[in-house]
Amino acid sequence: MTISPATREELAALVRSANERHSPVSAPDLTRLNRVLEHTPEDMTVTVEAGCQFDELQKQLAQRGQWLPLDPPVADDLTIANLIARNPSGPRRFGFGTVRDHLIGLQVVLADGRLVRNGGKVVKNVAGFDLLKLFVGAEHSLGFVVEATFKLLPRPESECFVRARCESLDDARQVIDNVLESPLTPSVLDLHNDPLHGGRFSVVIGFSGSYAEVDWQLGRATQLGFGEAAALDYEQRFWESGADSPRRCSVAPAALVERLRTLDGAAFIARAGNGTIYFHGDATLPQPALPSALIQRVKSTFDPNGILPPPPSA
């Protein structure tokens, strides 16, 4: 049964009681905790209840010319709680980073029902340990986030995307290298296989900034073979295709093309600047070593009775 608390205190009490009974609880429905609590544009920060929809937050921020510069691939029905728990990232992560780069404070219900805060509302703050990072991507396994504070950015004046088509992965690698060696500062650098656009592979780059910056970069990009206007619509097509949700693997950016060759022609999108690949299919991947004893110790310290969802699996 999913609980649907009206207040954070109610959630805290429910979790406390579940913990006393050693009874498992799943992530709560936070529909009723969905307010944007405080947006101070001159501080470039926002504090929001975790049940707020990501899209709704962006809409409100946009009215004051700002945004949380994250572009999760599937943003419909994505709450702030799940944004933090799942740590999704989209094409703009090359330019803007991921959730952990923008989260500056949170309040969370721990497994024993205590409401605790970490971080704060200011953009620079080193008081105490950084527990924020633990909760990003933890899939609700260490506690339930009820409130979050993010630092924001002004919405870019202009954003443009352009495409270079490549017949082979080797061609794509050359195009990517050319971009990285150029003075361009793209916010997006994606490689994907793209039967719809006639080429086997496409490299898409995007620029975000003032009109002058974006226009100058578009000119340089044309010289590098990015002759075709593009949009990020390939993202949505990719995430909506396939029976199962895409898998992820991560390599050093220079090893991207070698890894892509091992995917046996599966549909993929690669964040070429970061080395992150999303793909459909069942290719076997090497598993990097993890400090698993420490990870277990985190879980057993924060949730000794194991009532919260399991930790993110490798």
Partner: protein
């Protein structure tokens, strides 16, 4: 078990340490240990039982294991430039200084990464890669001395954090020797991707002030250096005007690389020392540095000039070339040095308030200055709301010391009241332990202690820091302090 009492380092331990790192890597004489009795926070001092200077991760791990067997505290140390007593050996113990592990091990230009040893000096990283148009972004003012390992300990910032973020945003992964001697790698490994499954222990341990073990090797993210800079200096009649200009610049959608402010007292001190031609009655000087692609930078600079003038700037200077830019920065970077002309001693504070509360906070600092009859010049990172009030006093006057500490207390208390923090970049260390309970609830602090138990169940790594109830050192020996 927390080692609250002085732990003697026995001759047997000293011998074993020499076996591990060699005789030249073990410091025991009181005169030599003096170097290690404090960091740049000099109000408290304590001699470590012994200082060890290992050269490899294996040596660090062996030393740490030995300390675990003998239940000795371990105190990690880099260059000792920290400003909050983070590396004080409060109950003695074994100080492990990583200064001999200072190499840049590998630079991977294609992947924009550098692998360095923990004792590598911050500025060396950028020096090693700038010829290829890259840099390592976090640039604390002590960057020509402070180490990357120390930067991880305090999650160091610098003047450019508004746009570029702090240490945690630029560290991909690192090797950590846990307090039981186990060697783990947190975050991304060299030659692997940046996504790491499981919890972000890398991020959780950055800023842990040496309480989770000893960092030995670090994988850093390098980023493309800006193509161009535009550095402006605005002279205002009041801090309020300059603060409003800061808010308006941000409001116009401009995110400068740096946004620094100096108030009247600092401006006068800088002018007296270096003759930059600042009007002595100027209430505040604002330094704005725009960086990025050259395209559009001029237009942005013009907009900043307009905003400054709209807010009553009586003068706006724009650096025409690299030399003029360096000169403008000199006025900011030499500010701390100029204070030496005003006062024999000063406390450097490190509070943070939301940017919009800067005028209110600055007025409060003015009130404190009058209340305690002490001068408090301010030079700070206005873009981040990170203040560095310099509370001037004379250590020969006990009453001045008392008033300086009281003013410091009032100012940090006000930062918390305004929704800010008692430290933006210097850390809690030994200095600000008492403020933790004012900024956080008992449960908030307990959640932090839970994380500590994960890494250091015995509480032996850098004990007596950060948390209320930690043992305090009674010695009171104020001395001149380094700047921020």
């Amino acid at each position: 078990m927390t080692p609250h009492d002085e732990q003697p380092v026995t001759p047997e331990v000293i011998r074993a340490l020499r076996d591990i790192v060699g005789a030249d890597g073990v410091i025991t004489g009181d005169d030599e240990l003096l170097v290690y009795e404090c960091d740049a926070y000099t109000l408290e001092k304590h001699l470590p039982g012994v200082v060890v200077l290992p050269r490899t991760t294996a040596e660090v791990a062996a030393v740490v294991k030995l300390c675990a067997q003998h239940h000795l505290p371990i105190i990690p140390r880099g260059a000792g430039t920290s400003l909050s007593g983070t590396v004080l050996a409060v109950t003695g113990g074994v100080m492990i200084a990583v200064t001999r592990m200072n190499r840049v091990l590998d630079i991977d230009f294609r992947n924009r990464r550098a692998l360095v040893e923990a004792g590598c000096v911050n500025a060396w990283v950028t020096n090693a890669v700038k010829h290829r148009g890259l840099f390592y972004a976090p640039d604390p003012s002590s960057q020509s001395a402070c180490t990357i390992g120390g930067n991880i300990g305090t999650n160091s910032g610098g003047p450019h954090t508004l746009k570029y973020g702090v240490t945690t945003n630029h560290v991909l992964g690192y090797e950590l020797v846990l307090p039981d001697g186990e060697i783990v790698w947190l975050g991304s490994r060299p030659d692997e991707g940046e996504e790491v499954d499981g919890y972000d222990l890398r991020g959780a341990a950055i800023g842990s002030e040496g309480m989770f073990g000893i960092v030995t090797r670090v994988l850093l993210r390098l980023i493309r250096a800006p193509q161009a800079f535009k550095t402006l200096l605005g002279v205002f009649d009041s801090v309020d005007q300059a603060s409003q200009a800061v808010s308006d610049i941000i409001g116009a959608g401009i995110v400068p690389g740096a946004l620094e402010m100096m108030d009247q007292l600092i401006t006068q001190a800088v002018e007296a020392a270096y003759h930059f031609g600042f009007p002595l009655d100027a209430g505040a000087v604002l330094i704005v540095e725009l960086d990025g692609l050259a395209a559009g930078l001029d237009a942005q600079a013009e907009r900043v000039v307009e905003i400054c003038r709209e807010n009553g700037a009586r003068e706006v200077r724009i650096a025409k070339d690299e030399q003029e830019r360096a000169d403008l920065w000199k006025s900011r970077k030499r500010a701390f040095g100029a204070i030496g002309r005003l006062s024999p001693n000063f406390i450097t504070q490190d509070g943070v308030v939301p940017r919009s509360k800067l005028p209110e906070m600055m007025r409060f600092i003015g009130e404190c200055s009058r209340k305690y009859e002490l001068r408090i010049p301010n030079v700070f990172h206005a873009g981040d709301g990170n203040l560095h009030p310099l509370i001037l006093y004379d250590e020969r006057d006990a009453d001045q010391i008392r008033r300086a500490l009281a003013a410091s207390d009032d100012i940090l208390g006000k930062c918390v009241e305004l929704g800010g923090s008692v430290t933006g970049e210097h850390g809690i260390g030994a200095e600000k332990i008492d403020f933790m309970a004012r900024q956080f609830s008992v449960d908030d602090l307990d959640a932090m202690r839970m994380l500590r138990r994960v890494f250091d169940p015995e509480g032996r790594s850098n004990p007596h820091k950060m948390f209320p109830g930690s043992k305090r050192c009674g010695d009171f020996a104020p001395k001149k302090q380094a700047g921020a």
